[in-house]
Amino acid sequence: MITQYLKDLVPELFGEVDPSHSTRRTSQIMPDSGVSGRTLTIVMTIMCYLACMALGALIIINKSIDNWTSDISGQVTVQIRPVSGSDVEAEIVKAVAIIEAASGITAINVMTADDARALLEPWLGAGEILQELPIPRLIEVTIDRENPPDLSAIAERLGEEVQGATLDTHRRWQDQLVRAAGTLQLIGYSVLALISVTTIAIIVFATRAAMYSNRQIVEVLHLVGARDNFIAVQVQRHFLRLGLKGGLIGALVGAVSFTAVNMLATDGASGLAQNIDAIASGTYNFSIANYLLLLLIPLVATLISLITARLAIMRILGGVL
């Protein structure tokens, strides 16, 4: 496939082109040049590559949104501030009891005072004050996502029965991330739509150019009694190949690009790549299924170029005697 593509683009690389060779082989009624010419093949490949990048980005975004919505709401935090006159450890026990009583909880993890102090160290410095300080304590609660508990009820009971307790559902964080991702998603879909429309426009132009530059052939075919369908099949065959070729190569290069960015993101020391990685929260790696999803690109490209070309051809032929 690739070799054929390169061969078509740069025949010089593959030894001399023997013109006399074509004498025996040629059997296509519409010649290649001017229909699925090199420039057009390159354009198609570029469009498919761009589509591939956009689709890949969309996949990552969608997955990230999934992760955020599920992971963050899959974990809530109970904070217990030491209120003067209360025993923090006792309040913790009470809180754990209340949480355990609720259904839909899979795990409860009480952070030790040292863990809590480690969180504060960057702010307060590691000094003796921290040791003396009455630090708020955290309880991490993991929720069964299939069967989530009634969080507002838990929050109410905690507020009533445990001194200094608040329930943090991280909802604010999550909302903001999901909103940001939603914007990205919208941009991604717009880019995909833009690419499709541009591709359709290009194919229409190319079909008309092909019909124009082959108008003498079309005329001769008509005059020897060819039906419109016969002519259309001769022309659209090139666009079928064009879409398939451009789509496959574009998607392939796109997939390679993704893998490369991936490796850069996991291996590289660059802060940026790590940031991206962080945004995608760990599940950045493209799965086989995702790569298969990219195969949609050649399929859609082929369909678009075939259908668009067919419609354009039939419209042109309808106007000819």
Binding site: T23, Q28, Q216, H222, L321
Partner: protein
């Protein structure tokens, strides 16, 4: 089988090329079409093979009124007409064989079905050794013969030949005329536009002459 009634033709805003042309061709007849250069011979033939519509008048082919025939009906009629174009109109990227086989291929026939016939015909027009050559490597006369072969390969009911011997020597002209006469004996109606006075003398057939847009017939 072909009837023209008061047919007029003009290109764009120009003067009338054909004026009130009326005639009829009977099945199996043979006709020459003459007239000075630019008289409208090619235009008349183009009306006949449906690549042009008349400005006015009535044309009927094989009993069909051309004015009312839908576009989808054209291919069937065209398959009954063979044409030798004045400028050959061979397809550059196809070999002689493929060019000549084109009308059969367009009809949906497969290569094995027509291969023998096409090669036989190519040998008849003396192109047996140029079967796999591309048109641009053929001499002028060879291209003309390939064009003739393509016109007759589909065994048309009517053959329109526009100056089919302009690029060949007198001996070959005579031979090609014999091919046309042979086809005519087999029932094909023939209308042949030519400047070649030598040919006109060799075969006794009715003559149409175009001059100043008017068509006259002798006898």
């Amino acid at each position: 089988m072909v009837r023209f009634e008061n047919v007029g033709l003009r290109y764009g805003m120009g003067a009338e090329v054909l004026r009130d042309v009326s005639f009829e061709l009977e099945p199996g007849s043979f006709h020459f079409l003459t007239g000075p250069s630019g008289a409208g011979k090619t235009s008349l033939l183009r009306l006949l093979f449906l690549s042009l519509r008349p400005t006015r008048g009535f044309i009927s082919l094989f009993g069909n009124d051309m004015a009312s025939l839908p576009r989808s009906g054209l291919p069937d009629i065209r398959r009954r007409i063979g044409v030798v174009f004045q400028d050959f109109r061979l397809l550059d990227h196809l070999t002689t064989f493929e060019n000549v086989a084109l009308p059969l291929r367009v009809r949906g026939l497969s290569r094995p079905a027509y291969k023998k016939d096409v090669i036989e015909l190519l040998e008849w027009v003396d192109l047996g050794d140029r079967i796999n050559a591309l048109p641009q490597t053929l001499s002028g006369g060879e291209q003309q013969r390939a064009a003739i072969a393509r016109a007759v390969v589909g065994q048309p009911d009517i053959l329109l030949a526009d100056e089919p011997t302009g690029n060949v020597d007198p001996a070959l002209s005579t031979r090609l005329l014999r091919l046309f006469i042979e086809l005519n004996r087999g029932g094909t109606t023939i209308l042949m536009a030519t400047h070649d006075t030598g040919l006109l003398d060799q075969h006794d057939a009715s003559r149409f002459e175009l001059r100043d847009g008017e068509l006259t017939r002798t006898p």
